[in-house]
């Protein structure tokens, strides 16, 4: 399953992130018996049947109890296991934030949190199921790495990269099924190292998650209007790729695009970095805004938030022309 082939890349795109998770964890556990997979009654989302059948001793379901999920996983991690804990991103990182703070941040126990329905992927269920503060909540926790994979292959690479890691991490899964293929071929993935996806001279767009599909489309639309944009996959929000951010500081405009409230996410992380630098670019922070959107289908929610490709292209063009957005 986790072999990188053209066929698998196509299958991963069709499945979407949540249904990649179970089969990928099965392969990882197959080679790493000390890896455990834990959930709070959302296992069926992850196409986990084969995992449960093959390695029942490596699967822990604590029921609908996110606070206990974190504590239980921390206890297991402390006994020498490497635990991946997955449930709804918002219930995981908001409801159980104090448990994450004490067990993973303060004690430094290296549980790997995986948030499903990060952003607005399940926005049809209403704002209760949107994760729009998860990056903010996890990013401020000491020791925590925060990773937002762009597509199925990058999710698999992230999960594999964490199999021996001793530090805690938060992996945010975004999109639904039929997610864009950002990488058509294998590439070098390293946590903390941003990946340029497209070159350009007028502006840089930093983004991550499945939203990158729309960002690349926006860059293409802008190209047709004579504006060339560099696009960078900033899959790791923490630690930031500071070298890359210094390299692009001279661009006329740095745009961040994310499925997150305006406060505390990718845009804030980049702005915090530049605030302490001698040279800072002008920034445009594209986000889900400052309110919880009402329930809608995913594509409609992106539109409500101004995050579709044409809307992002217009907003970037306006910003470059000095107009208000």
């Amino acid at each position: 399953m986790i072999e990188i082939t053209r066929k698998n890349i196509r299958i991963w795109s069709m499945l979407g992130m949540r249904r990649i998770l179970g089969p990928a964890m099965k392969d990882i556990i197959g080679e790493n018996p000390r890896v455990l997979f834990a959930t709070a009654d959302t296992g069926r989302y992850y196409a986990w049947e084969d995992l449960v059948r093959t390695y029942p001793g490596n699967v822990v379901d604590v029921g609908i109890a996110e606070q206990n999920l974190i504590g239980t996983c921390a206890g297991l991690q402390n006994e020498g296991f490497n635990v991946y804990a997955c449930t709804y991103a918002t219930f995981l990182t908001a409801r159980a934030l104090d448990q994450i703070r004490v067990n993973l941040g303060y004690m430094g126990l290296g549980v790997k949190l995986i948030g499903e329905a990060g952003g607005m992927g399940d926005g049809n269920f209403s704002a209760t199921h949107m994760a729009l503060e998860d990056i903010s909540n996890t990013r401020c926790i000491p020791h925590m790495r925060v990773i937002v994979p762009a597509d199925g292959m990058e999710l698999v690479k992230t999960l594999v990269a964490l199999k021996d890691a001793e530090y805690p991490a938060y992996v945010r899964m975004t999109g639904r099924a039929d997610i864009p293929v950002i990488y058509k071929e294998d590439y070098d993935f390293e946590i903390g190292k941003a990946v340029p996806l497209r070159e350009g001279k007028d502006a840089v767009i930093l983004s991550n998650g499945t939203l990158l599909g729309d960002v690349l489309k926006a860059a293409k639309l802008l190209e047709e209007r004579g504006i060339s944009c560099r696009v960078v996959n900033l899959h790791t929000v923490k630690p930031l790729d500071e070298g890359m951010l210094r390299e692009i500081a001279g661009y006329p405009l740095v745009v961040t695009a994310e499925e997150h409230l305006l406060w505390g996410g990718l845009g804030s992380a980049v702005a915090e970095f530049y605030a302490m630098e001698p040279a800072r670019p002008r920034m445009l922070m594209l986000s889900a805004g400052t309110e919880y959107p009402d329930a809608k289908e995913y594509e409609d929610l992106l539109k409500t938030c101004g995050l579709t490709a044409p809307q992002m292209a217009d907003r970037i063009e306006n910003a470059l022309a000095g107009k208000e957005n």
């Binding site: 606070q67 504590g71 239980t72 206890g75 402390n78």
Partner: protein
């Protein structure tokens, strides 16, 4: 195996050290009430029940103690001194200056502290993970989690208790320090959850009620073989052994002036003599 008298002596020393740490912390004070109430529980666990070796702090087969009501840290430090993990000098510095022994304990296996604590309601979940992990590894070690009766207000305790039942964690024992008081007043007046025994029983625990200051009763309860996970409801007195602090809500935390400290020492000695059955 320590005798009843030796365990009572150990509880006495734990109390004297709690008083001393509270006194030496100066104006900050310490959580005296809920520390005094678990002196016998800790004496029995470290004195006669638990398997551990301060020379091999990471020994896989060691039993694990998790102090979920972590504000009773000074009691834990005193017990860890008895057990050989914390030196006299270290104990004398606790709660002061750069000492690593804070008002709430920080994870420090070298000194026998399995986990950090302070945010209530979290220790039983850590116990679930630990007990599950030990079972997965095939280790015979036991897990003891001390929770407060006030702490049982926290919903996470009951999420974790359900998990203990679900996973059938017979290697885990919960000890509830039932001192009947919490920060704002009497347990029953602040939040009365009904009979706690019914809650633990409903979740499949073998419930044993006992006098939490009777070392023999505690030892019998903690070591009793049962088919199910065990919850020991230890009836205790908050501030036990210190006349002015016993059953006093205000003594959840407090500072000991020189005068009060000397009074506390006298009271603890009196409590010790009473426990031994020696009368003046």
């Amino acid at each position: 195996m320590k005798s009843r008298e030796e365990l009572i002596g150990m509880a006495r020393r734990i109390r004297l050290d709690i008083a001393q740490m509270t006194w030496q912390s100066g104006v900050k004070g310490a959580h005296l009430g809920g520390s005094m109430s678990i002196a016998e529980i800790l004496a029995v666990l470290y004195g006669n029940v638990m398997k551990y070796d301060p020379e091999r702090v990471d020994m896989p087969e060691r039993d694990r103690l998790i102090l979920s009501k972590a504000h009773a840290a000074v009691a834990l430090y005193a017990a860890l001194h008895e057990a050989g993990y914390i030196s006299r000098e270290e104990l004398d510095g606790a709660l002061q200056g750069d000492s690593p022994f804070f008002e709430h304990p920080k994870k420090d296996l070298r000194h026998g502290i399995e986990f950090s604590g302070g945010s209530l309601g979290q220790g039983l979940s850590l116990g679930v993970g630990t007990a599950l992990g030990l079972r997965m590894k095939g280790l015979p070690s036991k897990v003891y989690v001390i929770v407060g009766d006030g702490e049982c207000d926290e919903g996470q305790i009951w999420e974790a208790a359900a998990a203990v039942h679900h996973f059938g964690l017979r290697n885990l024992t919960v000890i509830v320090d039932g001192n009947g008081l919490q920060f704002d007043g009497k347990k029953t007046e602040v939040l009365d959850p009904g009979d706690p025994a019914l809650r633990w029983e409903a979740l499949g625990f073998d419930v044993i009620r006992c006098d939490g200051h009777d070392v023999e009763a505690l030892q019998e309860a903690i070591t009793r073989e049962t088919d199910r996970p065990k919850a020991i409801l230890a009836k205790t007195v908050k501030g036990k052994g210190v006349s002015f602090a016993e059953n006093e809500t205000a003594w959840h935390t407090g500072r000991l002036t020189d005068e009060l400290y000397h009074q506390a020492v006298e009271d603890i000695e009196e409590c010790y003599r009473e426990a031994l059955g020696v009368h003046d």
